[in-house]
Amino acid sequence: MVALVMVDVAVVGAGQTRYGNHDLGLKGMWAEAARSAFASVDGDFDAKMVDEAYIGSLAFGGAQLGNTAALLTEHSDMEGLPVRRVENACASSGFAFRDAWMAIKSGQADVVVAGGIEKMNDLTPERRRYWLGVSGDTEWERLAGLTFPGTYALMARRYFHEFDATHDDLVHVSVKNHLHGSLNPLAHIQKEVAFEKAASGFMVADPLTLYDCCPTSDGASCVVLAADHVAKRMTDTPVWVRGSGAASDHLALHDRPSITQLKATQTAGRKAYEMANLTPRDIDLAEVHDCFTIAEVLATEDLGFAQRGEGGRFAREGQGIINQGSVAVNASGGLKSKGHPLGATGTGQVVEVFKQLRGQVESQRQVKGAEVGLTHNVGGSGATCAVHVFGRDRT
């Protein structure tokens, strides 16, 4: 019998485009993200060293619905690799990252690229709403008038009914994430918002206003993962993947026993913590999936940063503000301010944690003494979720 020794996996490079309204198309954005990621690898690295690539995308707009990954890798010096597009709605690249991690973990690859991309602002409003509505249970939810603002609005109203929380708590999330995003030069919306303004925004889906909703962003992100035995040649400061968890849940909100918690997040988080042998208290910063402000409130509970029903208070007390609370939540600005180019969001979260743990973000945004970070990427209204825990230390 040959004893199999599981390898450890590190992130050795990570980069992204600015999120927002891009002039560049798919190929140009991906090339920019890949260049940024490759350039961030400190040591011995060449794109030809990559064994596999996983690229998350909803293929928004349908412009390159088929063979997306083959086209994009062709424009980033990775021709000829086994590549594929990974699709799990807004969690596409969170799962692309998990697949990349598994490819190395299984011993089948040493160096793998995970990334994501979405081009969303080149469509008419009608087409954009179409693509923003294809990831719920279209047959039942969409024909009941729901797009995701509506789905999350149902969650928010129910949450207010069940717990001691009001819309003001969501406003605190919005104000915090705009504050963080205002310090991030790669964020889509780089400006603060006053509480009063955020509280009285245009009503999109009652009770959610414009300031509760993430923007429609273009963008791409790219991460280089490596097995432990090659990572040391590539950098002296790898960021180790300490835990990976993923789960799914009923696609339709009405099929879930509770709409004030995301079971997929709870399951994925528990698995990731267990693998990392860490608890929520060990997390210094978390990039959570705040497509809507209520989603961040639920995530802080489902990931264990706040007790159930206490997510509103967590936000109200500013516990997620950088270097102020118990854990920095969405130091990048989150989806709310950094932006949400659907397929790019998951690996974009990894980019932020990678830089934070290496002390490479802007000084005002740097989480002091950050040792352990977490990413939380959700598909749709919680049908899919990938959670990863990262550390400066290998164990």
């Binding site: 709403r129 179409y130 009941a144 509506g150 109203r157 129910r158 999109v204």
Partner: protein, 276 residues
């Protein structure tokens, strides 16, 4: 004759016929509400009659979706080729009035004093929006629920048919690797429930299937209901209702138009406040 409000319509009935009228008037004429038509009135008429007696077969005139009527009411539509006579006729009017009558019955349509005036410009805009939506050349940018996919789920969508599982009723029906929908049998759930949550989407945020009508209606309202028989479901609120709701409020489910694509109207259950 006894008159009442039934599924959002005005209903008169006697042993030989049932009259269903829209509550909306424009001038002296009764007109359909924003998501009503002869098919939705006919469904209300048959369901009302079914409260009192069996309806074996109904002759359905042109202008009524016979499949939707049959599915929503679980009745047989009379086959013109058959040798037997229908038990009931559906009679259309030039106004938004419909009669379900025994063949040969003398029908008297009483004047009802309930009349909700509609704004003429609004009414004309809604009618024009539906005409445009129904045009086969109109291509909605909405998620594509094909006619075949709609028909597969027509029974749960129109009559709330579900399954009985080990833990109670299941709706919408589910498939399983172990048991099929057919094996679980069909169970028609009670068409009412209480509000668990609700929202009103602005016209800009509503699904693009509704993009022609949502701006006229001031958005679309959706409720999450806990059905009386247990399962939860999301439903559009009927277009004629005010979008003000409250948690735990009782609502009933009635059949209305949902949207049209490729010249085909998709009908389904929508929610309206339960009459006091």
């Amino acid at each position: 004759m006894t008159a009442e409000v039934w599924m959002g319509y005005l209903v008169d009935h006697c042993p030989d016929f049932t009259v269903v009228q829209s509550p909306f008037v424009l001038g002296d004429e009764r007109v359909f509400g924003a998501d009503s038509d002869a098919t939705t009135l006919s469904i209300a008429a048959v369901l009302h009659r079914l409260q009192h007696e069996n309806v074996a077969s109904v002759a359905v005139p042109e202008g009524i979706d016979a499949d939707a009527l049959s599915t929503a009411c679980n009745i047989q539509v009379w086959d013109k080729e058959s040798e037997s006579e229908p038990d009931w006729d559906l009679l259309l009017s030039e106004e938004a009035i419909l009669v379900l009558a025994r063949p040969g019955a003398e029908v008297e349509i009483s004047v009802m004093d309930v009349a909700v005036e509609v704004d003429q410009a609004f009414h004309e805009a809604i009618v024009a929006a539906w005409e445009m939506e129904l045009n086969v050349l109109h291509v909605s940018q909405g998620a594509y629920v094909s006619q075949a996919q709609y028909v597969e789920a027509a029974s749960p969508r129109l009559s709330l048919s579900g399954q009985m599982g080990r833990n109670g009723a299941v709706w919408p029906p589910r498939y399983s690797a172990n048991t099929s929908q057919k094996e679980n049998g069909v169970h028609r759930l009670t068409p009412s429930g209480r509000v668990l949550s609700w929202t009103t989407l602005s016209a800009a945020g509503a699904p693009s299937e509704f993009s022609l009508r949502a701006p006229l209606l001031g958005g679309v309202s959706t409720v999450l209901l806990e059905l009386v028989d247990g399962p939860n479901g999301v439903f559009l609120v009927v277009d004629d209702e005010e979008p003000e709701h409250s948690m735990d409020a009782p609502m009933e489910l009635v059949v209305r138009r949902i949207y049209a694509q490729e010249g085909f109207i998709r009908y389904g259950l929508k929610a309206r406040a339960m009459p006091a």
